[in-house]
Symmetry: C2
Subunit: 356 residues, 2 copies
């Protein structure tokens, strides 16, 4: 495996000195790039693109050819695990992910079993190996998965949403059944992320997309506990290098203290949280990743530079900040604005890293 | 005007002693009630129901006939103001509110003018007068409006959403134009709520449904400032009785400190905020209204009683809590669960009000 030429991202996640604030962008390989749309239409669909290691490698590297990003992220979906469990992931035009066979009876739930990544999700670990080879040490590669609670939401509702009434009804009325789903998905996420690490992922991120839909006590019970369990089960070091873990609960800005005790090295922040306040609250327990509103990328370089300046000043001096958006990049973003963002973060952040 | 027989709700909003915790429920007159669906189909549509003072009175009183609620809320929509401005409010089947003529050019925006409630929204003040007469002093009546930012979101996008890219692009790139919209809607909200107060509303609530979509600094600039301006402009007393104001920013749990300085007497809380923490943060500056997850009402009386107990214990001893859901009641809620909720709040809260 080629030596890493740029490990600024990994060092920032571990709160070690860096010369500047590293940046990557959620959904950086995505529909705002014409070359992505070309490869996607060649693959036939988003899901076929995910399942084709060669094309997944191609799109993973596309944003790195345009922008001076400090990390690559595996091109995949957060819902590969339930798909491997047989629920039948599909994407209808213009809608979010859905399942053909959502969990609707107890028997289905009792028969769920933990996935074995090198068997059921080999297209993912193959993609990791292929991307690592193509990157040739240029920047680190991030592996990822959905969180157990987020996977359970999709598995029970059959799709995303905002209310999750079916999920919550089960969680409150049948905690035994809901617990069974969380148990199997947690063990699967551990196996899956460890499979990605063994295939070469340099860091991993857990997307708790729907954790913010819960009350504070339900969040601890139905999401945070499982995030902690996962962090405990993950491979910590490969060849003497620590594999950092990032946990991102969208809408979880009020629960950073609890999240900082899960064993995560870094927490993702959406844009509803002030990064200066967040840093005070988590102290030196974790690094922070975020948190520009993706809507800013629809404006112009002047507005982008100003917002970058405010977020960098908010985090302030010292190490432990990875710049990112607070959510995935919007498909209507002009690529030149992403260029302006990456340059602004690199240039403006040097002053905060005097000792790096 | 008949003397109020139950002012527990108004006293709680002003943090005065009460014998128990009062309760009302967002969207308490709604689709979960068969009698509501009957009246609505008689009216022909939701909007026709809003615009018919006699039928609006009928549905406003329906939940009071079933449950021992401590307040009634005007049956109306948060978007009446932009409709009165000529944007053409409509509801497509199974979708949220939309506008036929959203704001898409500068000329449209420059020609907006402040509404005059007794002229352009007389159906609302007529409904307030009619409801007050029908209530005959049984419980207080809440008037309401959308917040300027929330109105602006719908006016610019033409519908609700989660990302509001069009709104944010204008707010960041053309703060002059966006400011013009906020200025006209703020002045209109003041005139509108004062019109409702003059017609008999005993308290008013401002629904900032989309304020939570902003960053902390953008929230201050584009929503909180206007909420403060509105509170400053509202009629404070009628016949020696204070008219309390409630401000509710959905997703604004991280900004309670700022919201407590707008001049609101009480803040609405969604369920993502722990009410014990919220009370510590706002101190004795404001009362709190909330904050049970509406999904709990889809379970059973046992779960409901337990959740009520946790929220009441969270708020703790003393005054200044109005029980409510953290969002509108879901249409699939069994009415008997709402009954269980109201009874549980009244019974369990007496122990926390020893001095009331």
């Amino acid at each position: 495996m080629a030596e890493l030429q740029n490990d600024v991202f990994l060092r920032a996640l571990l709160r070690q000195p860096t010369p500047y604030t590293p940046i990557w962008i959620m959904r950086q390989a995505g529909r705002y790039l014409p070359e992505y749309n070309k490869t996607r239409s060649q693959a036939g669909s988003f899901l076929k693109l995910c399942k084709n290691p060669e094309l997944a490698t191609e799109v993973t590297l596309q944003p790195l050819a345009r922008f001076n990003l400090d990390a690559a992220i595996l091109f995949s979906d957060i819902l590969t695990i339930p798909d491997a469990m047989g629920l039948g992931l599909y994407f209808a035009d213009g809608e979010g992910p859905q399942f053909e066979r959502p969990l609707r009876d107890e028997k289905q739930i009792q028969s769920l079993s933990v996935i074995e990544p090198e068997e059921q999700l080999k297209y993912v670990t193959d993609a990791v190996r292929s991307i690592k080879q193509a990157l040739n040490g240029r920047v680190p590669l991030i592996g990822f998965s959905g969180s157990p609670f987020t996977l359970a939401c999709y598995m029970i509702e059959g799709k995303g949403g905002t209310e999750f009434h079916r999920v919550k009804k089960m969680a409150y009325e049948r905690p035994d059944l809901f617990g069974k789903i969380l148990e199997v998905t947690s063990a699967s996420v551990i196996a899956y992320l460890n499979g990605q690490i063994q295939a070469g992922a340099d860091a991993v991120m857990i997307f708790d997309t729907w954790g913010g839909a819960l009350t504070p006590s339900a969040f601890k019970r139905f999401s945070q506990n499982n995030l902690k369990q996962i962090c405990t089960g993950l491979i910590r070091e490969v060849n003497g290098r620590v594999i950092p873990r990032v946990v991102f609960t969208k809408g979880g800005g009020q629960w950073l203290e609890g999240l900082s005790e899960t064993g995560a090295d870094a927490l993702g922040l959406d844009w509803s949280t002030d990064i200066a306040t967040a840093r005070m609250r988590v102290g030196d327990r974790v690094a922070l990743q975020g948190n520009m509103d993706p809507a800013i990328l629809l404006t112009n370089p002047e507005v982008i530079q100003k917002e970058v300046g405010e977020i960098l000043a908010g985090y302030g001096e010292g190490f432990g900040h990875v710049f990112n958006l607070g959510h995935g990049v919007n498909q209507f973003t002009p690529p030149e604005n992403v260029h302006a963002l990456v340059e602004a973060v690199h240039e403006q952040s040097r002053g905060y890293h005097a000792a790096g």
